[in-house]
């Protein structure tokens, strides 16, 4: 019984479909045949504009602006040739170059071809007026990325370019197509899904001369969502002006919740170069520059932290009770460890932990490090957030590397010596960190012992990004130990023998630590990490100069930035 009903149902469905074919072929057949013979359907894609990227005060860092493209409807060869000559005359270009553009961008006979991108408004109007005479020409508005401040915050933004093969296979399922313009690096890449506009368009019927007859369908294009950052453009500008011309990276962060106020790297690049791909030379200059201007050094490059790391070793020593406030080690300009002599940069005589930080005495930390052992230093480095990415919402963040005797044995088949511990204790050797990691390690002493998670996205199209992701973990440091180190950091700047003396005269009380990292090639790297104002810190700053010779120079740069910020009333 049910079998029969099933058979009848299948027959019925087949008849229904057959009736559908009958309807299309015999009843609507004539009109559809006409459409097909004349290839009379044209498609006109329309772009929405990409979402804006704003700073914390709503100022536009990357927006978009309308440009006009001249489009040509493909027709028969003679007609196309005639149109090209006319357009070439109006645009003042050779018809040969337009023909080449036409042939290169031709997709199918139903889609108009952009023969000249980004044309002058006056010429666009001139072409539009010729519409009756030249039905095959269309002027299409086309939003382009616009950077009102040029290269400001370029590494945070990233740039836009045509989608590459790797991204296409990865994102094809989310509606990405070949020739799409997508973000590379920075917020543009990480938040491309939100920023990205949706293509809309028009399909319409044209007559045999290519003149518009009627609209068949329309889908409105959709603009992308705006992304607001935590950056303060005023601070960002000061930072970039001061960093300009050197190689390095500067991060300014809110010590309490990890909002990144400024993040700058030098050398940088102008993202506009990618928008108008006209100047190929400028582009290949950026791509092939050995200074790597595209790299966001603050998060993607790793360096030895040198003496800045002493805040970690001092915390470990005090917490593990290997040293106390009164423990002193004599410094005679060096120490014999194993069969090698490890030098200090100066002769300090007996130093306790407070003065060893102020004077950045290496010998004190060699001794403390040997008492602690590399495992304990490793554990404390991890507590301060080293060795893994901070989780900031930017792509290509590096994790850095914290050495450990076991890791060395497993991966390098080498033994760990006391000399390695000594190097580790002063932030040299295999230890590698990013400037952003240093910034948040310093923030621990500014905010009362909390390890924050740096973030840079404050809201997406007006909706605050979820706070749950921003973890702030308390580091278990005893309050008097932490306070002791904090006061020492102030003395680094205030004491006449302190290594941060360059900052002493700044109008604002700064605390911090310098670092001079020996490198195998070239001048040492220079570090300064600190916070200000000392009494109630509002900012943590980390200045890093690649081959900057000495921490002293990083401190000078920090002073210039802090003074300028104070001058503009930002502190």
């Amino acid at each position: 019984m049910r079998l029969k009903i099933t058979a009848v149902a299948i027959t019925a469905v087949f008849f229904l479909l057959f009736a559908g074919v009958l309807n299309l072929t015999c009843i609507q057949g004539k009109r559809l045949k006409y459409l097909s013979e004349k290839n009379c359907v044209r498609l006109m894609p329309q772009q929405g504009s990409r979402g804006k990227i704003l700073d914390r005060n709503g100022e536009v860092i990357a927006g978009s602006r309308l440009t006009y493209d001249a489009m040509l409807l493909p027709q028969d060869k003679n007609e196309t040739e005639r149109l090209l000559t006319r357009v070439a005359a109006i645009l003042g270009e050779s018809s040969g170059s337009l023909r080449k553009a036409f042939q290169e961008r031709f997709v199918s006979s139903s889609v108009p071809v952009a023969i000249a991108a980004n044309i002058d408004v006056k010429k666009a109007i001139a072409l539009e007026e010729l519409k009756d005479e030249l039905p095959g020409i269309m002027i299409q508005p086309h939003p382009l990325r616009d950077y009102p401040y040029g290269k400001l915050a370029c590494h945070v933004l990233g740039y836009l370019s045509e989608i590459d093969r790797w991204r296409l296979t990865k994102l094809g399922d989310y509606g990405y197509k070949t020739k799409d313009i997508v973000g590379f690096g920075g917020v543009e890449e990480k938040y491309d899904y939100y920023l990205r506009q949706e293509e809309g368009g028009l399909s319409f019927e044209v007559d045999h001369r290519g003149r518009f007859v009627r609209v068949l369908g329309f889908r409105p294009p959709q603009d992308g969502k705006d992304v607001q950052l935590t950056l303060d453009l005023r601070v960002q500008r000061i930072v970039e002006e001061n960093l300009d011309g050197r190689t390095g990276s500067i991060v300014v962060m809110d010590p309490y919740d990890g909002q990144v106020i400024a993040m700058a790297n030098s050398p940088g690049f102008n993202p506009e170069a990618f928008v108008y791909r006209s100047s190929q030379r400028a582009l290949s200059g950026i791509m092939n520059n050995p200074e790597a201007p595209l790299v966001n050094r603050a998060i993607s490059s790793t360096y030895p932290p040198a003496s800045v790391f002493k805040i970690v070793v001092a915390s470990a020593g005090l917490e593990n009770k290997k040293v106390n406030f009164t423990t002193t080690f004599p410094c005679q300009g060096g120490a014999q460890i194993g069969n090698r002599r490890f030098a200090c940069w100066d002769v300090h005589r007996p130093q306790d932990v407070f003065h060893a930080l102020v004077n950045s005495c290496d010998v004190f930390f060699y001794r403390t490090g040997l008492l602690l052992g590399p495992e304990a230093i490793h554990d404390y480095a991890l507590k301060f957030g080293f060795s893994k990415p901070t989780g900031i919402e930017l792509p290509y963040e590096a994790g850095g590397f914290v050495p450990h005797p076991l890791k060395r044995k497993l991966y390098q088949f080498k033994k760990w010596f006391d000399g390695d511990t000594a190097n580790f204790s002063i932030g040299q050797g295999d230890l590698l960190v990013t400037p952003l990691q240093v910034t948040r390690a310093m923030a621990v002493f500014a905010n009362g012992g909390k390890l924050v998670s740096p973030y840079i996205i404050s809201s997406i199209s007006g909706q605050r990004s979820p706070e749950g992701r921003r973890k702030t973990a308390a580091i278990s440091l005893k309050e008097d130990n932490r306070e002791h180190i904090r006061l020492a950091l102030r003395e680094v700047v205030a004491s006449p023998t302190g290594t941060g003396i360059a900052l002493a005269g700044a109008g604002i009380a700064v605390a911090g630590k310098t670092g001079t990292a020996q490198v195998t090639r070239g001048q040492p790297h220079a570090w300064f990490a600190g916070f200000f104002p000392f009494a109630k810190p509002k900012f943590v700053i980390c200045v890093f100069l690649e081959n900057g010779t000495s921490g002293h120079f990083a401190a000078i740069l920090a002073r210039q930035i802090i003074e300028k910020m104070a001058l503009e009333g930002l502190v």
């Binding site: 049910r2 058979a7 479909l17 057959f18 299309l24 015999c26 559809l32 399922d173 369908g217």
Partner: protein, 369 residues
Amino acid sequence: MLLSRSGTSLLIIALCIAALGILSIYSSTSQKEGDFWQLTYKRQVFWVMIGVALFLLVSNFNYRRFWDATYLLYAVTLALLLLVFILGAVRLGAQRWLKVAWFNFQPSEAAKLAVVVFLARYFSTKPAGALSLSVGSMGFVRAVLIPLAFVLVPVGLIVEQPDLGSGIIVFLILLIMLYVSGVRMGYVLGFVLAGLSMLPVFWNMLRGYQKDRLLVFLNPNIDPLGAGYTIIQSKIAIGSGGIFGKGWMSGTQSQLRFLPESHTDFIFATFVEEWGFFGSAVLFFLYYLLIRQGLNIASRTSDSFGRLLALGICCMFAIQISINVAMNLGFAPVVGVPLYLMSYGGSSIAVTFASLGILANIDKQRSVF
């Protein structure tokens, strides 16, 4: 004898349809450049030859052995689907294929057949010593919920691939199998109603572009450049064929690349453009004969497992063919299912011929008893 009478006719009908398919594939790819496209029809000929070999093999393989191997078949299918899933995760994107040596195998095609075998066995169990099937006396849990649970696992994996079309087809197979196997009518209706009331939930589980495609089906003009474009072009292709068609190798829509997927999912439009209304009548007739033949075999068979298996295979054919044709006509959303025997693709050809082989064997065993 190698083949029974019904087996021979099944094979002949299938080969006729496949021949029409190869003609259309040849025509739609002839304008495309490159060896890959030029050789597409040859590869299809090769697949059909493999298919015929499979048909001969399976039609001489006692289908009762499938009864014993049901769970093994089910497990292997799940494993293949999981493998696609894992490899897909590694390759960071949609993946429906498994690359086996030199060809791509699409396990979701085989999964449909495995589900049919599984359900046929499930609903044809008899309590020991009883004469009638236990299905009539089953409660709601045993009649509906347990088979549903077994079907949902592969459906979930298929939809996640993401291959929405095959997922829907497997689900429809379950529904029709529930009906034909004699589950109480109230339960079947309850299942349908429950399914309908769950629709909003399923809707929310879909990905953005899947939703778009379903919406576009309701109005192709909301996305004239994307999925709507395909529907518009497919309708133009079919309609412009008229009564007698433009003639073989003269279809402009499919050859000038207006119609995407003209040799796979939209081969029906390609065919009708060139052969017209009369061509489509012949095609419909051939498909109808094929399914009719299967249904006849089902009604002749007294073994309940064989009958349900034959019915299930017929339903699988009918559902998939209907959905594909409806999609070409703009009656159904573009979900990406091939047209059995016509569309280019090794997995679908192989599974089709194997299923027909099972049908032939069911009829053969009947004459043995």
